[in-house]
């Protein structure tokens, strides 16, 4: 049994002539919180979509839990996209039932507890909620699954600081050594304290993949500072 939950080799994605991923090689170990950092357009979201099964790669290989991307991997991947992807007409309780029906690893009790702590009324309809509250609901649903790998795409962008703390809290609380959490973001300084490793991606290529404390010790800088240096325009 591999210690890696995700392995990809020479992963390539082209849109016509446009080369978005130019041969990605990555291995994510189990039980890590990994930051996928890069500017807009670097290929972060494309990579995550391929891993989540929303996009087919043009070339190369990617395996999650040693399986090719498909319904088996979808069952163990919990993906939080950057947008509202729940049906607006649903009430919160409907979304819980939905997740329960389709995901055998969904922990209803955990979800209800988290919603209650945030004073979110489960019989409220999503369309009556603010964007921030909807995002919290989505995060709670995604984190209430006992998935083997979580992909959180910009979980704290566009969210107020208190909510940001709550989200970071939820991520730490949810951590377990059998799962890996991949956080894609450009808001690095808010999140770097909770990361084990970072991956820098630039123009569709990985430029760095290292343990964060090692980076700090070697460079005497925060990840945020290093990022700004590396990705200077």
């Amino acid at each position: 049994m591999s210690e890696y939950i995700l392995e990809c080799g020479n992963l390539i994605k082209n849109y016509g002539n446009k080369k978005v991923l130019k041969g990605i090689n990555l291995s994510f170990a189990k039980g890590k919180i990994i930051g996928l950092l890069g500017p807009n357009g670097s290929g972060k979201t494309t990579f995550i979509k391929i891993a989540a099964g929303l996009l087919k790669q043009t070339g190369g290989e990617i395996k999650i839990d040693n399986k090719k991307i498909g319904i088996e991997t979808k069952a163990i991947v919990s993906y939080l996209p950057e947008r509202t992807y729940l049906e607006n007409s649903m009430r919160v309780v409907d979304t819980i039932k939905f997740f329960k029906d389709f995901y055998s690893d969904f922990d209803e009790v955990k979800a209800l507890n988290m919603l209650q702590k945030l004073n979110i009324n489960i019989s409220d309809s999503l369309k009556t909620m603010s964007k921030g509250t909807k995002e919290k609901v989505q995060l709670i649903l995604v984190m209430s699954r006992n998935a083997k790998i979580y992909f959180l795409d910009e979980p704290i962008a566009g969210v107020d600081p208190a909510a940001r703390d709550y989200i970071i809290n939820t991520i730490i609380n949810n951590y377990n050594e059998n799962s890996t959490i991949v956080i894609s973001t450009h808001l690095i300084s808010d999140i770097e304290n909770i990361l084990d490793e970072v991956v820098f991606i630039k123009n569709g290529e990985i430029t760095l993949h290292k343990n964060v404390d090692e980076i700090r010790e070697e460079n005497g800088k925060s990840i945020d500072s290093l990022f700004r240096e590396v990705f200077k325009c």
Partner: protein
């Protein structure tokens, strides 16, 4: 509230320092049970793996020990903690002295200033 960390140095060494100071100051009492790795990670707003590494480091330093079924506890060795307190204070004093020396004060002048300032403080 997260603990205050400088992001320019490795977080885990800062956690070790933070907990060490909590022990020296008596905030964590001798023999007291400390929260789980997860709870501490949440309080400090850090990665649980990082917190675990720090706690392991503290165990190596004998400041913390694990009882298999009951969890982690602060050391009961008062002498060691007192020595650490002394070492910490000494280091602060030496650093302080270096700074004062750099503005041209002698040891006697420093002591006088310290006494005077303490008098004003109360």
């Amino acid at each position: 509230m997260a603990w205050n960390f400088s992001k320019e140095q490795s977080i885990y060494t800062q956690i070790v320092e933070h907990i060490k100071i909590s022990i020296i100051s008596g905030e964590y009492k001798l023999g007291e049970k400390i929260p789980s790795v997860r709870e501490l990670a949440v309080t400090a707003a850090v990665n649980p793996n990082t917190m675990q590494k720090a706690l392991q480091e503290l165990e190596k330093m004998n400041l913390v020990f694990t009882q298999r079924t009951s969890g982690r506890f602060i050391t009961e060795d008062k002498a060691m903690v007192d020595k650490l307190k002394e070492d910490f204070a000494k280091k602060q004093i030496i650093d302080f002295y270096k700074k004062m020396k750099s503005i041209g004060l002698t040891k006697n002048e420093i002591i006088n200033f310290v006494e005077k300032t303490f008098g004003e403080m109360n």
